[in-house]
Amino acid sequence: MQIFSKVNNDYLVVFLVGELDHYASDFARSKLDALLDRSTQSKIIVDVSGLEFMDSTGIGVLLGRFNKMKALKKPMFIAGAKGSVDKVFTMSGIYKIMPKIAG
């Protein structure tokens, strides 16, 4: 999978592209941490419109990052989930803490 970011005013937007499963999770975790740790923006959007596949491993990865950002009082949002990726997010209840927003 690929992960990159761009800055949009107060927001750091991180893009997840490809397939996020257990195999990709170590890479996803360390790449996201690197991007989030050095960002100075006050809010974070995780754009998953390029995510073709994600299983429940992705929930664990995002919750882990959410807890780190919570300590820094930086809210996180999820944008662009489609199909079964959106179903996994909805089922997990993650939208209650990382609200779904329009990309």
Binding site: G60, L63, G83, S84, K87
Partner: protein, 159 residues
């Protein structure tokens, strides 16, 4: 289509997660599933295979057996491992329950399998292994199916 089946044995490696779900999806194509049914199946297979890699063998060497059968429009998938087994299956099925919170596992694996498939049956014996059996019956939506298969093929090619 004729009834069909396959059995596949894989090494319990993270690299094989994507391979396993792709093989099962490819096998299902003949039954003309919708795109949504296909991605539900891929997600459920990925959960089962990941469980075997992460929990059954603790990342050590081991084998995973995947048995798939299509009869009429009903798909049956069995994912078996020969690892340590699950102590309390009912507990393991609870949403958010995980034995590995420190690894940021979500504890949603069985919940996902249960809701993405029509049925889920887990048999496990300590020290012997675990078998996850899932079924899904494909809906019959005649006029749309060719288009959706084509769309899936295109998505795969571009993916």
């Amino acid at each position: 289509m004729k009834d069909n089946e396959f059995v596949l044995t894989l090494k319990a490696l993270g690299e094989n997660e994507s391979f396993a779900r792709t093989v099962v999806a490819a096998f299902c194509l003949e039954a003309k599933p919708t795109l949504e049914e296909l991605s539900d199946i891929k997600t459920a297979v990925s959960e089962a295979v990941t469980n075997a890699i992460v929990h059954a063998y603790d990342g050590a060497d081991g084998k995973i057996k995947i048995k798939c059968k299509i009869s009429k429009n009903k798909l049956t998938i069995e994912v078996s491992d020969f690892g340590k087994g699950i102590e309390d299956v009912e507990k393991a099925k609870e949403p958010f329950y995980t034995t590995r919170p420190e690894e940021e596992r979500s504890g949603m694996g069985f919940t996902v399998m249960e809701s993405f498939m029509d049925s889920l049956e887990i048999t496990s014996k300590l020290g012997v292994g675990t078998k996850v059996k899932m079924t899904k019956t494909f809906g019959v939506v005649e006029p749309k199916e060719n288009f959706e298969r084509e769309e899936y093929a295109i998505a795969r090619r571009n993916g």
